[in-house]
């Protein structure tokens, strides 16, 4: 039926931030229809793309994501009426910022996948995974993480131990 998926030398990490009403359901439909796509994607579910803070995308890149996908309902179809419009505007600005910083925008994709578009989900995920595979690992942000200067960072072992003991 399908060719056995082979393991490549470089398996990129792709993180998908999706809304629960459209894209998550679309990915479920891909599952119930037994479609096949690369197993590199990790899905994080949000109520709405409007909930997705650009900081999450930056953090995902820092933590080792080689590609990030943000996907929600088609414009006009938002379960919360206007969440995806806010998301669209926010990410248009954010993309420009990332471009300015020097991030290759081919690593960051925005798309609309409805609950009925299992096939489109497969297409989008496959395309992004293969594109990122060709580009190789995303190194810039991971190195940043090592010399992280966030005010809230757990920079010393003592702090980290103290933090772990309370959670």
């Amino acid at each position: 039926m399908h060719a056995e998926q082979v393991k490549h030398d470089f398996e990129p990490k792709v993180v998908a931030f999706v809304c629960t009403w459209c894209t998550y359901a679309g990915a479920d439909l891909a599952g119930t229809s037994r479609m096949q796509y690369p197993p590199n994607v990790r899905v994080l579910k949000f109520p709405c793309t409007g909930r997705i803070d650009p900081v999450f995308i930056l953090r995902a890149f820092q933590k080792g994501a080689d590609g990030v996908l943000v996907s929600g309902c088609h414009p006009g179809d938002c379960h919360y009426m206007a969440g995806n419009f806010h998301a669209r505007r926010r990410f248009a600005a954010f993309r420009a910022l990332l471009d300015f910083v020097g991030v290759d925008l081919n690593r960051l994709q925005f798309s609309w996948v409805s609950a009925a578009e299992g096939g489109k989900w497969v297409e989008v995920v496959t395309e992004l995974t293969e594109r990122v595979r060709g580009m190789g690992p995303m190194k810039e942000f991971k190195e940043l993480e090592l010399e992280e200067q966030w005010s809230a960072s757990l920079s010393t072992p003592e702090l980290k131990a103290a933090y772990d003991s309370i959670t």
């Binding site: 891909a30 709405c48 806010h86």
Partner: protein, 665 residues
């Protein structure tokens, strides 16, 4: 320190076939904070749920991750089980390793690694999760039914008979929909008007039903149990409270040559009209585009002859806001036309059939009107071009349906049956005529359906030809139909007097726009999506909104009526409670840090954010901050992503939880 339990399901073999579930359970056991992990064949079964409950008690768990199917499938099941074991239901989450993993990947090693990652994500999420209490909201016991066809009528009558208030909103001047247009109905050949019109009258006379005809939905706000719906009542130009329905205005109207939509353009009506004599309400409406008074300002005959003085040329659209508890969507269908379609459209027309330019090629609904005793020909089957009786008639099934190259791949379900009916009606009315039917397959599942179809073939002398038609063109007063008989393997050419196309069933015009107002999902053809194809066939994914009839997919009358009654039953179940529990996924403001910039207020689609004054002991206002009204908040979280100081947080999706998930990557 958290004590999380991880329960990995085999789902029979659905998951374990591609994912090494034992390895996933073992790996989960090594995640910090996980106190217990195991795998089981069917986690959702009774023993599976008991396993979960027992483990919660024995290991004193503070949170649960069930790695199984999609949360859309069984989240409720497991949250209920966790709740029964004394755990807060909202610290029970599902890791979707079936739809998002085992079913879509084949490489066992990679699928197992992915499943472990998904479990890890959810464990971190539950670790940072908070106990939440469901919010109770009151239920407004009034239903809205959108669409006044047979689906809407049935749903409205059922709900009204149960003692609840119902609002029926119909776009056209009269209720009745497509069923009122039909001549006779399969498989019993009883007259459609005879069974339909009494129901229409019931709607008009029911004390619990308010009918808004010639009206449309303008805006929908709110949520299950508490919708605020704005209805636009279009200007009829006739005051409904004064009109007696005497019909003098219609008789005296000088403009009488307007094609009647109800007769598919084959009958004529006046500019002030009721669509058909049995219309409900029986109040005329002025078609402003064709009325001389509105176009040139000269005429006014209808106003002069109207005894009660009901005609009002100055009438304007009015907007009414109604509080509604549940919505039944029953907007029905339209028929596909073979006309040329706009450039770039997903759906194509039929150039090989002349793009609808040959007058004697008609669709099934036109044939219904021609065969109907109340139709433009008084029930005689006469062809539109010259009014002659067709002696050779060809019916073609699957026009537009099951035709991927034309853009529609689904089966329209009703055409096989109504074409069989049409051949019978034709045979009953034109005794010396011959009917031919081109068909791909005869699909006749349903009580008494196959017997009905066999009757058309065996007793009513219709000639069924298995094959499709490649081309049709006009030659003199005949239509040449060129097709193939695939059973015999020959080309067929028929000189027909008239051709009837069983064109595809499509969702009603503007179905997508209404869905956007309601916040419900629809497929690529614009049919509305049910919450679950098998187990929730009448519910939408949006709580409190239900589907009935052909707006969800092609359906015949018995199926439509069944679904409408099912939707009504769902509404009544909802209305049986005075209070409703809803998910506590709402935003909260940290009053300490909010600076009152109200960026959140600007983006909130629900208007849930209010201004709250913080006062000192003397009663002086110290600062004004944001406050989220939990009853109004829909839980989208746009405010949180917008807040510059991160002081508003969406319960269940806090920054802390999401960051913890991202940390696992």
């Amino acid at each position: 320190m958290s004590r999380i339990g991880v329960f990995v399901c085999h789902c029979g073999e659905n998951i374990s076939r591609t994912v090494d579930v034992e390895q996933v359970a073992a790996a989960a056991g090594n995640i910090p904070g996980v106190a217990f992990s195991c795998d089981y064949k069917y986690m959702c079964s009774d023993p599976g749920q008991n396993l979960l409950k027992k483990a919660i008690a024995e290991h004193n768990l503070t949170g649960v991750v069930v790695a199984a199917c999609s949360p859309r499938m069984h989240e409720k099941t497991f949250r209920k089980a966790a709740g029964a074991a004394g755990l807060n239901p909202y610290v029970c989450e599902m890791a979707n390793i079936r739809e998002h993993c085992s079913w879509v990947h084949e490489n066992r090693e990679m699928a197992t690694a992915k499943a472990s990652d998904i479990v890890h994500l959810m464990v971190e999420r539950v670790k940072k999760g908070k106990s939440l209490a469901p919010i109770t909201v009151p239920v407004t016991k009034k239903a809205l039914v959108i669409g006044g066809g047979i689906a809407g009528i049935q749903a409205a009558l059922d709900i009204a008979d149960a003692g609840h208030q119902v609002l029926v909103v119909e776009r056209e001047p009269s209720i009745g929909g497509h069923m009122a247009q039909l001549s006779e109905t399969f498989p019993t050949l009883d007259c459609s008007q005879c069974i339909m019109t009494p129901k229409m009258v019931d709607v008009a006379n029911h004390p619990n039903i308010t009918l808004y005809s010639y009206s449309e939905i303008e805006k929908v706000e709110g949520y299950i149990g508490n919708f605020q719906v704005t209805v636009r009542k279009k200007a009829r130009s006739v005051d409904e409270s004064k009109c007696t329905g005497c019909g003098v205005c219609i008789a005296k109207c000088p403009k009488k040559k307007i094609p009647n939509e109800f007769d598919q353009g084959h009958g004529m009506r006046s500019a002030i009209y009721v669509p058909f004599p049995q219309a409900v309400p029986n109040t005329p409406v002025i078609d402003r585009e064709n009325c001389t008074m509105f176009q040139s300002g000269k005429c006014g005959v209808c106003a002069k002859v109207c005894g009660p003085g009901a005609v009002d040329y100055q009438q304007e659209d009015t907007l009414t806001v109604e509080s509604i508890g549940a919505i039944v969507v029953a907007t029905g269908f339209k028929l596909y036309s073979i006309d040329r379609k706009p450039e770039g459209s997903m759906i194509q027309g039929y150039g090989e059939f002349g793009y609808g330019t040959i007058p004697d090629i008609v669709d099934g609904m036109t044939f219904e009107r021609l065969a109907s005793a109340s139709g433009p020909t008084g029930g005689k089957i006469l062809r539109p071009s010259d009014g002659k009786e067709p002696k050779q008639i060809v019916f073609i099934q699957c026009v537009g349906s099951r035709a991927r190259e034309k853009g529609i791949s689904y089966c329209s379900k009703i055409c096989c049956m109504y074409t069989a009916k049409h051949t019978m009606l034709y045979h009953h009315k034109v005794h010396d005529g011959q009917a031919y039917v081109f068909f791909m397959d005869a699909r006749t599942p349903g009580k008494g359906y196959d017997e009905f179809w066999r009757r058309a073939v065996e007793e009513e002398e219709a000639v069924y030809i298995r094959g499709m038609v490649s081309r049709m063109y006009q030659k003199g007063d005949k239509i040449i139909v060129m097709g193939s008989d695939t059973l015999v393997g020959v080309q067929v050419e028929i000189e027909a007097d008239m051709v009837v196309l069983a064109t595809a069933v499509q969702p009603q015009e503007g179905a997508d726009l209404l869905a956007q107002k309601l916040g419900i999902s629809y497929d690529k053809y614009n049919f509305y999506s049910e919450a679950h194809a098998k187990l929730k066939p009448v519910e939408c994914a949006t709580a409190g909104i239900y589907l009935a009839g052909a707006c969800q997919g092609p359906k015949d009358i018995p199926d439509t009526v069944s679904q409408a009654s099912a939707a009504a039953a769902k509404v009544m179940t909802l209305f049986a409670k005075d209070q409703l529990e809803r998910d506590p996924v709402v935003a909260k403001v940290n009053e300490k840090y909010c600076v009152g910039c109200f960026a959140c207020k600007k983006v909130c689609p629900y208007g849930a954010i209010e201004e709250k004054e913080i006062k000192d002991r003397q009663g002086n206002v110290v600062k004004v901050i944001a406050y989220v009204n939990p009853g109004v908040c829909g839980g989208c979280g746009t405010c949180q992503a917008t807040c510059p100081s991160k002081t508003v947080e969406l319960d269940g999706y806090t920054d802390e939880q999401i960051m913890a998930m991202i940390e696992t990557l």
